[in-house]
Symmetry: C2
Subunit: 430 residues, 2 copies
């Protein structure tokens, strides 16, 4: 058997510890599949004394992760520290510069600095693996970059954040409010103490920017992603969605349009009969649409120690076996700049919910504004009648432009009888 692949693991949190544990417990299986053993030579962590349930004999310890990039006895640095800058970025840059391949689960790092790191990896002739950074255990990077390599992709979209999907699923099933379900998710460990990265859509946007790069052969452009989260989704919207034949999902969508590449993360109404609508709880799913293959969907656990370790080790096995691909599917020098289309250029259907004082003339005022902006209303629902009290009015539109919709809503908000900020959810025909 040839020389083992020697790795250093930076960061021994739940993912790091699980990665080392599986490398140890499945050592024989992995060596057979990889063609050679994968051995952990060194690790870094803040507290060496903690019991992590792994065998540390023969493994070097350090508290200074950056030194892992300098070791002559390490082939691959596995970066599991996190954060788009700071130690993680420094470690990865140094490792690549020193001719070591890198495997990372760090979506923020790849989303913000992926193009620069890809160039550094290519210059050094080494690999940069990030399968675990997108959709956890689902091998979606490999599937798109290699499995669908014969295709031009038109669109890639998915449920990229399990925390949000869990919250929306429970809200729909129980009718409970967002804050209430978020608290539950925090207690169950599905949401962080500071949940904003998840629920404001930032985490999903990191992953979407990476998917867009490999799908379309463009540089990663996180700043071009339009991001909205799920804080404003209320049980009443989930009820109306159900009644209209939709589910509400936080989707990341990247697509090639006539005016450039659209990248957006926001709550969507999707037809209940579509596969993506059926993805519930903490699961993730990604749909990639190719010109030969048509739509494909990959589904699985998008987070957690086991699924993330599974993807980290898959990258390591590829490296050990000598299987490499350009970081974003094409040589870094050939990646085009992303021509970004602003969200204003979006064309689509919309769900609007207004809280209005129930009095004559309000609907006339609202519909007149839509008419003036050339927005074609498909349906209006006002179930409750409660003179001079606040009632919800729901409208859906035919295809219209985001710009016209935004202008309409700004004017509608100024109508005196409209007592809350209008809620808008885009309806996606997937």
């Amino acid at each position: 058997m040839v020389k083992p692949l020697s790795i250093a693991v930076a960061g021994l949190g739940t993912v790091g510890a699980e990665t080392v544990r599986v490398l140890q417990s499945h050592a024989d299986l992995i060596a057979e599949r990889a063609g050679r053993p994968i051995v952990v030579t060194a690790v870094s962590a803040r507290d060496p004394a903690l019991d992590r349930g792994i065998d540390m004999s023969g493994i070097d310890w350090t508290v200074d992760a950056k030194t892992l990039a300098e070791r002559g006895d390490v082939d691959v640095v596995v970066e599991l520290i996190g954060g788009s800058d700071g130690i993680a970025r420094e470690l990865v840059s140094r490792a690549l510069a020193n001719g070591k391949s890198v495997v990372t689960a760090n979506k923020a790092l790849v989303a913000h600095h992926g193009s620069e790191l890809a160039k550094a990896a290519e210059t050094a002739g080494v690999a940069l693996g990030y399968e675990s950074a997108v959709a956890g255990g689902i091998p979606i990077i490999k599937s798109i970059r290699e499995g669908l390599a014969a295709n031009r992709l038109q669109r890639v979209y998915g449920i990229l954040n399990g925390t949000c999907n869990y919250i929306l699923t429970v809200m729909r099933e129980t009718g409970r409010a967002f804050d209430d379900v978020l608290r539950d998710a925090q207690e169950l460990g599905y949401a962080e103490a500071d949940p904003s990265f998840d629920i404001d859509g930032v985490d999903a946007a990191h992953k979407l920017a990476i998917l867009a790069a490999i799908a379309f052969g463009r540089e990663v452009d996180f700043d071009a992603v339009h991001v909205e989260g799920i804080r404003h989704i209320s049980p009443i919207d989930l009820e109306y969605a159900e009644q209209l034949g939709y589910r509400i999902k936080l989707l990341g969508i990247a697509e090639i349009s006539d005016v450039g590449i659209q990248q957006r993360v926001h709550p969507c109404m999707v037809p209940v009969a579509t596969p993506i609508a059926q993805v519930e709880g903490v699961f993730n799913a990604v749909v990639a649409e190719g010109d030969s293959v048509g739509p494909t969907l990959s589904y699985g656990r998008g987070a957690g120690a086991g699924p993330t370790a599974s993807a980290v080790i898959a990258d390591l096995i590829d490296l050990a076996a000598g299987r490499t691909a350009p970081v974003f599917g094409l040589p870094a020098s050939r990646l085009a700049k992303a021509e970004t289309a602003s969200i204003d250029k979006l064309e689509g259907m919309y769900y609007i919910r207004l809280m209005v004082i129930d009095r004559p003339g309000v609907l006339a005022d609202v519909t007149a504004i839509f008419r003036d902006h050339n927005v074609s209303v498909e349906a209006i629902l006002q179930r409750a009648r409660d003179p001079d009290e606040a009632v919800p009015v729901v409208l859906t539109t035919h295809d219209t432009s985001e710009a016209a919709m935004r202008q309409s809503l700004a004017e509608i908000q100024r109508i005196e009888a409209v007592i809350e900020e209008p809620r808008m959810i885009r309806i996606e025909s997937l």
Copy 2:
């Protein structure tokens, strides 16, 4: 740019012609992703004069496919002829023996002779790609073999035949009978003039045997697959399934059990809320369950020229880029013999439908037989009452052994008031 990869395509039916067409239309994209151009040097087909919508300039023609294996100017032979023996087998064996890699869409060939061909490929130091043989455009071979390589797999199952899934979907939606919907499927081109390979489960069994080999690191063992088709499914069973909260799907299931590896293809009732139950029409889906990743599902078009060409070309791009993996995930010499568990050893729940003459005592006779074989009945449904006429009686059971179930049904069939062969559909808890 390095030397092009020179390929020969044997068989220019719809898949072969589409493969050449995409290689030509996407030549630049494919060359960038593969790191070098992929050029078609020679093709074989029975009728050279047919217009297939592809540019034949610079491509050699032959009617004798076998000669493609002997050409010094060809690196890879793409076998799209079909059939488990005959010309396809001879061509593939000769190509491997001559040191050429092979890409094939031929599931029958790989299911029957995969282990032998894998050894031949390894001896010659070349690759054998068959991504297109299982689930069409879905990159499931790559996903399991490389993407989930860190996992021990416990079970892999899926909807592996789009023809059957289409027929079952339409039967459920319309209430029409099997023969009637099959005729439609034939007119639409979803089923062959002789549909038996599809509807009797043989095609799905070919694919399952291949999936089992890569999932469990065993030799391909098609003969060990228990196969039943969908001819006996009637609209009344689909109705009862719906009422009981199930969908009927033709599944291929391979799993590691205490008594060996179970491989089986048969109609199943699956809970309607599971992702696999939601796969409708001609689509395929494969679920792989790993010890780290948990369940993953891959979904897409399982047949057709475009999806199949997509997978064939993905294999070619991997070859051009130098990405190879052992044919069934492990070196051929390390693949264990499959220890097969007979279907009699299966433990599970069952749906039974009897047609009985509605008279006192019949249910007592039936339930006594189940009691004698230690089969625990969960529910009995007899909706219609029609004294002395034939009415359907449906029973579901708790977990029981297949052997006990078969003995029970043999005895039940001998009851005079039971006027048709009992129908049995296994209920899967997925």
